[in-house]
Symmetry: C2
Subunit: 128 residues, 2 copies
Amino acid sequence: MTFQPPLSGKEQDETEEFRPRFDSNGLIAAIAQDTSTGEILMLAWMNAEALSKTIETGRATYWSRSRGKLWIKGETSGHFQEVVEILTDCDQDAIIMKVNQTDAACHTGRKSCFYRRIDGTSRLIKSE
Amino acid sequence: MTFQPPLSGKEQDETEEFRPRFDSNGLIAAIAQDTSTGEILMLAWMNAEALSKTIETGRATYWSRSRGKLWIKGETSGHFQEVVEILTDCDQDAIIMKVNQTDAACHTGRKSCFYRRIDGTSRLIKSE
């Protein structure tokens, strides 16, 4: 799958064509949200190939910036994300995937990567 | 407010100190989520100053990449985001703000910026 380039301004906001806007590193932000609870599970990155594979396979596939490679979520852990629906935002530089998450989304073993709340200034409170 | 630098690996995952990891452009991804419905409203960016101001004022403040300036959400539209809670993720390169959104989060006038669903391949379906 290849993607058409983004349009500008209001055209991009209102088009009914998917024209993802990749950043200068060729990446788009991808939020995984639990489709049943609405809980945000993680935020990661996709290049065009990862985005293509996610759409085609129905399994969330990211680009690992630290490892510099494509990364099928769950390929080693078994913690796959089955994609139910994908939304994009006004300027199409981010997507939300509503997913069915097998077990934990976070590599620490927690359901969500967002397990710490900022307390006032510089302290974090763990939710679990 | 100044932030301490991130730690590495598991230390960063488990620390109870807020040590945000800004990217090579000095930015962190910030997701605004409606605190009552769980709907994701928008994704934007913060530099250290924007993050500081958000924490200190309780009003979501971003860094506008296109305009190259600090941007208090609602300063021109009146569509402020009152921050109820802030969460960060395992490696602390993203935050979620649970917010009370005045009127619309999106500059198009829609409640959420994520108003289009990707239909199969390259088409978008508007939800409203």
